[in-house]
Point group: C2
Amino acid sequence: MGNTVIRDANIVTMDAAGTIVRGDVRITDDRIVGVGDEEEHFVPDQVVEARGRVLLPGFIQTHIHLCQTLFRSRADDMELMDWLRTRIWPLEAAHDDESVYLSALLGIGELIQSGTTTLLDMETVNHTDAAFRAMAQSGIRAISGKVMMDRAGEDIPSALQENTDRSLADSVALLEKWHGYDGGRLQYAFCPRFVVSCTERLLITVRDLAEQHKILIHTHASENKGEIELVEKQTGMRNIVYLDHLGLTSPRLVLAHSIWLDDTERTIIQRTGTKVTHCPGSNLKLASGIAAVPALLSNGVQVGLGADGAPCNNNLDMFQEMRLTAMIHKVQHGPTSMNARTVLRMATIGGAEVLGLEREIGSIEVGKKADLILLDLNKFHAFPSYEADLYSRIVYAAGRGDVDTVWIDGHVVMRGRVMTTIDEAAVLSDADAAISRLLGRMA
Amino acid sequence: MGNTVIRDANIVTMDAAGTIVRGDVRITDDRIVGVGDEEEHFVPDQVVEARGRVLLPGFIQTHIHLCQTLFRSRADDMELMDWLRTRIWPLEAAHDDESVYLSALLGIGELIQSGTTTLLDMETVNHTDAAFRAMAQSGIRAISGKVMMDRAGEDIPSALQENTDRSLADSVALLEKWHGYDGGRLQYAFCPRFVVSCTERLLITVRDLAEQHKILIHTHASENKGEIELVEKQTGMRNIVYLDHLGLTSPRLVLAHSIWLDDTERTIIQRTGTKVTHCPGSNLKLASGIAAVPALLSNGVQVGLGADGAPCNNNLDMFQEMRLTAMIHKVQHGPTSMNARTVLRMATIGGAEVLGLEREIGSIEVGKKADLILLDLNKFHAFPSYEADLYSRIVYAAGRGDVDTVWIDGHVVMRGRVMTTIDEAAVLSDADAAISRLLGRMA
C-alpha cells in the first residue's frame, strides 16, 4: 500500500486529551505514522486533499447481525416474540450460503457508506463461513461468529436446532479457519444467542474455550422483560447473576442491550469488567426499553454502540445511533447528559475498548491502524461551520451521506462515495433475488 | 410551466384509501391532473422517467424557526432557560436583515433537500420581511409570521422588546404585504411566542384579527414544566385552559409541543379542533418530555410533525422526525403503536390538515397542488425492495440523501439533488460570514 498523506484535514483525533487539530495524517501501509505535524522525509505514493473536511476514526459498532440485513422492512411494528417466531427465525432457517453471503455484503455496504469500519457481528446457526467470505472480500474489520442455540424451544424451526457438541464443533472449526485472517482484520467470537437458548454445558465450555483462545464471547442479555423472567424460571437466578455464577462475566464478555438490570447486576458488570453494547434504535423500535447508559458510564463500565439487525432498526447507521444515544437519555437525565463528545467517544474509542482493541483502533494516533473516515460537512444541514463545535456538528447534524472516503487497514474501501470492494448494483439485484427465494422457501 | 408527466413511478398517494400504485403522474402548471392512469391526449412539455423510484407528496412541517438556522451547533446539551437566555435570545437580538435572510435560505435549502415542501414557520421580532423574501425566492410553500412578545421579561434583550401596539402593527403590515403572495404559496400567521411572553390584550386582538383575516395563529404551548408553572402563576389557570378562556382555541390555532397537558386540556383541544405539532427531536434534545401523541391521535386531534429550530434538533429533516415519532412512543405504548403508515400520514396529509390545507396539498390526488418528491431507494440502506412494505422503507430506512427531485407548486426546486432556486455554495459562505457578524455583536 505504501505511503499516503491526507492533507490539511480538520482531524478529530478522539485521543484521551480530546485533541482536534488541523493538519496532515500520514499512513504507511496499514498504520498511522503521523498526525497533525509535517515530515520532510515522508514521500507519499498518494496524496488526498482534505482541506475543509473532517477526518475521524472509523466508527465501531459492537452489536450487528449481518445475516438479518436481507430481512429489512419485513418485520416492523410487531411484538418481540411475534417478530422472532413469525419472521426472524423462519427467515434465518430459510437461509442458504448465497443468501447469507449477500445479506452480509448488503449490510457491510451500508455500514461502510455510513462510516463504520469495525463491527462485532452475530451470524445465524448455519452458513457462517459465507458471511466470513463477504467480510474478507469487503475489506471490513470484523469480529464475528455463528450463533449458538443448543436448547431448542418448540417455536424454533428445525433448521436452527443444533446439539451442544455440534454447536461447539462448528464454532471451533470456524474459529480455526477465520480467526486472525488478513493480519488479524477478521477475528472469531463465540456467540451464544442468549441464556434462554443455551445449555449450561455449552456456556461453561464456551467460557473455557474463549479463555483458551483469548477471544470474545458475544451474547444478548436482559433486552426484554419476558426474557429475564424466562431466565429466572430456567435458572432460579437473575440473568447477569447466572452468567456470573457460571464464570462468564469478564472483560471478554460483550452483552448486547443490558436494559433490565438490577443494582446487583450492575455491580457485577462493573466489578468484572464485562462490556455492554447500547442499541437505542433497536431498543425503541422493539419497545424493549431504555438502558441506563449514563449510570453505566459513570460507574466506569465500557459501553459501545450498535445498530443490531436491519429488521429492528432499520438502518445500520452509526449517525442514527449517535443521535438517538445523545437524545433519548436527556428526558430522564437532563439536557446536559450524554453530550456530543461523550457519544462520539462511545462510537469510536469506546467501542474499541469494548472489543479490547483500544491499542489498535478507535482514535487517530501514531501507531494505530489506518481506519479513517473523511466527512464533507459543507452542506446546508451541517452549516454554519464558523467556530461551531465539531462534536456537535458530527453527532447532531451530520449523516451517512456526508461520509466521502473510508480507509480500513490502510486500504480505501470507499472513495467519493463509490465503493471499491463491493459492486453495489449487483448486490442490490442479487439481494432481491435472494429474499424472494427465502420467502418462497418459507411459504 | 405547461405539462409534465412523471413516468412509471411507484406512487405512494397518501389518499384516504392508502392507494399505492405504479404509473404516471401528470401535472399541468401547478396542479396534478392525472394519477396512475394514462391519457392519450396529454401532450407533455417535460417527461421525467421515474421507473424504480418512489413518488410521495412533499413533507409538511408544522413547526419551524427559520431565523434560528444560523445558530445550529451553538447551543447544545444545555438547560432550556440557559439555552434561551444565553444563546437564542441574544442571537435573535443580534440579527439584521441580511442574517435573517441567510438563516431562512440555509434552512429552506436543508428543508427542500430533505423533502419538505411546506412549512409553518415562526420568525423573530424584527426583520421578518427578509425571511419572507427568502421564502419567495426559494419557491418553498410557507406560512410564516413575526414572533410577538409584548410582555418583556427582565432576561429579554432590548432588541426583542416591543409594545403591544407595535407588535400588532408590524404583524398586520407583514400580513398585508405577504399573505397570498404568488397565488397563495406564501401566507401569514400570527405568532405569539407563548403565553408567558404575551399580554392578554395582545392575545385577544390576535384572536380577532385571525378570525377577521381567516389566518392561523401559531404558538408554543406546554413544552416545558417550568413554562406551565409560569402560566399558572401569571393567569391562575392551566395553559390550555387560559387559551380557551380567551377564546383562542379553534381550528385556526396551532400549538407546538403540547407535552404537559392534563385531561381537561386534552378535552379542550379535542372539542375545539385545535391543532398540535409534535416535535420529537427538539423535545428529546431539550429534555422537554414526550408528548402523548398516540392518545391525541386516537381522540381525533390533528397532529403534524416539525423539526423546530436548528439549535434544538439539529436538523430540519422530516426523515429524522418520522423515525423518532415511530420509535419513541413504542417503549410506552408497545411496538405496534405509531406504525410506519400512521407516521407517514402525519408527515404529509396530517400536516396539511393541521394547516387547514388538506384540500390543496398533502396527498397525490387529481386537483391538488403539484408538491411532490421523488425518492431513489435503490441503495444498500433501503434494500431489499422485493415485496417490501414501502411505508416501512420510507419511515424506517430512507433518509434525506434519497430525495432526488422536488416539485413545489409545479416548479422543480431540486433536480438530481441540485438546487435550482438557491446557490448552495454562496449561501454556505455567506452564512458563515453572517454568524461571525452576529457573534461579534453579542461579544
